[in-house]
Every structure is written in C-alpha cells, then in structure tokens.
Subunit: 170 residues, 2 copies
DNA sequence: AACAGAACCGCAGAAGCTTCGGTATCGTGG
DNA sequence: CCACGATACCGAAGCTTCTGCGGTTCTGTT
C-alpha cells in the first residue's frame, strides 16, 4: 500500500474499499484485530517484516481508514450494566427525514452501544446496555416512546453476545 | 483494585460484575475504550497517576476480566465486505438444545461478526458481512436454510453501523 | 541493459516500559 | 494513643522498544 504524500494529510484520498491490500496487510490486520495492544516489534516478527516497515504499514492502514480505531473491549457488567438489549425501531413515515437527528441524539446516551441503520420493516436497531430491567424500561419509555417521530419499538433482551470469527481477522 | 496474588493466576477469582472500580479505573477504561493503543505513559498522565501505578491498574483490569481484550476496528469494506446484514434466526422448537452447536459452527464462518442470543420470537441474531448480495444469499441458503435445526430467518440489510457513546466509556 | 519509483531494511538516538525499594494512608487491635 | 500490618502509590533506573533516516533491493518500463 502506498504511503500518503508527505504533505498535509489528504484525510480521505481514497476510500477503504478502493485500497489495495497485500498479504502482509492482511496479516497485520488479522493480528491487530485480535490484539490491538501488541508491540510493533512483535507484530513485525509475526508478519515477517522489519519493524520500520511494519510501522509504516500500520500507519498507512490507519490513515487510509482501513483501521478505523483501536478499542478496549470492556465487560458491560463491570460498569454496572448487567442487561443488554436489541431494540428495533420504526419511525413515523413523515419523520424519515429526521432520522439522522433522532439517531444522533440517541447515540449520545451512555446506554447506547451500537446503532444499525437497516432496510425493511424497521428503520434502525439500537444495541443498549443498562443496569436493570427498570432502567431499560425507563430508557424505552423516556427516550423512545415519548419521541413523536418514533412509531414503534420492539425490545429483545440479549442473553449473551459473542464476537465471531469475522471479528478476529478473516 | 487489589492485585491478584503473586502465585499462579486465579484466572477467574471474581466475576467482572463483582469487581469494585474507583474513579481512576473508570478513567482508564474510558481512555482505553477510545484508544487502546495509547502508550502507558500518556495514559498515566491523562488519568493522573504514576506510570507504574497505571500499569498495575491496567493489568489488574485485564486479568479480572473487566477488559476483555483490545481490538482494532477494521473497515469491512477494505476486506471486500461491502455488505452487512443482521439476520434474525428461529430454531425448530425441538432443536433448542442444539443451539450452542449451531451457533458454534456459524461463529467460525468468516462472514459472521457478532452473535446475539436473544429472548422473544427469535433465538439469535447474526451480524454478518459479505462481498455482495449474491454472496449473502449464498450464505443464507447454504448455512442457514439448509440446516434442519433452523426454522426460519429474517434478513435485514445494514446501511450503516456506528459505535455510540456507550462504547466510548460511559 | 539502464533507469525510475517504490518498498524494504538496519541502525542508532530518543522514547517508553517495567521492576524495585521506599513512603504515605488506612484500619485494627493492644 | 500508638504500634502494626496491609494496601496502594510514587520515583528512579536499567532495559526494551520505538521510529526517522540513509542506503539497498526489487519491480516494471523504456
């Protein structure tokens, strides 16, 4: 993968789907997807390139947007969030234009983990985590049912959530 | 948070929901959730403790299971996965006992990103990413519809997926 | 075969990591 | 009220890693 020009970052010169990745890039991504805190030295050894080369590759992947970020995976239970749920939400037909605003507001709530905009009967899904059932009920009542743009919701409790193979570098 | 005894790791002495976290721990988690590749030195400065203390805290959080891992967030489009979907799956009533096996097999597929076990009409949700619509159709046909344990599926294409506030450290 | 451009490597100064001994704080029991 | 142990914190220092740079190799073109 070519390094970006030395001058000011193009920021978005090419979209991630247009970037050409070779085997070394794939190996780097696979390792970092599994352990983002690995040292550059060990990463370089594992993928079989020099440390300096490896560092340049990782930077290029980061700047081109292929790597969107590095995140610690925190157990929600440790934060007092023992309950997770997936909430499917339908908007009022006339309110579709306000979809972005509705979601932006919801995204700022600490209970909300992920937002999925979907096709079909529902407009988007909210992955949320709360302390207990009454807290979840309150979230749905106060922030969803009260909003006139929202036509309906369907809440499904999550018993368990696991990251699968695709998350660990195909 | 107390460090585990020097001897062999208890591995699971206490569950994440029982761990007591103080403000420093919360600050550490907040920073690491946002940028897992930050250096220990800078992390220590941001949360206002010595590097040595910070390192001990992070290790304790990791070993107690509060931090489940560190992962690079890879744009699926860079891997040739331009299409994401959420698939709701119902099992045959008599096949509920085999739920674990069904999911374990599916989890190994590179297309599968997340598995959510849920309550309600559906038994679990699959968050998947594939190259194109025909690849998604093939996945559903070959791995879901063909399985006799699976009673039905509902596929919803994902237009966009964003991480919300709860992912960035309450 | 000569050349240009890109990618890679090793090196070395700079920066960061991690262990260790010492200190402060807190709670308990004499 | 003080001695004591346990706990957590800090600073320092040796060791490791990081990272920019110049030189080299590789690849594809003319």
């Amino acid at each position: 993968m070519p390094l970006p020009p030395a001058g000011a970052q193009p920021e978005r010169a090419l979209r991630p789907q247009d970037v050409r990745l070779d085997d070394t890039d794939h190996a780097i991504l696979r390792v970092l997807a599994d352990d983002a805190r690995i040292s550059n030295k060990e990463l370089a050894e594992r993928v079989g390139v020099a440390q300096s080369t490896c560092l340049a590759r990782v930077r290029a992947l980061r700047e081109s947007g292929v790597i969107r970020g590095y995140h610690a995976d925190i157990d929600p239970r440790a934060l007092g969030h023992d309950l997770e749920a997936m909430i499917a939400i339908r908007l009022q037909p006339h309110a579709r234009g306000a979809l972005r605003d509705v979601v932006a507001t919801l995204s700022r709530r600490p209970e909300v983990l992920d937002v999925y905009f979907v096709a079909g009967a529902n407009d988007f899904l909210l992955h949320v985590a709360t302390g207990r059932t009454d807290e979840l009920r309150r979230f749905v009542a106060d922030h969803l049912n009260r909003d006139p743009a929202i036509a309906g919701t369907e809440t499904a409790l999550i018993f368990e959530h696991t990251r699968a193979a695709g998350r660990r570098g195909s």
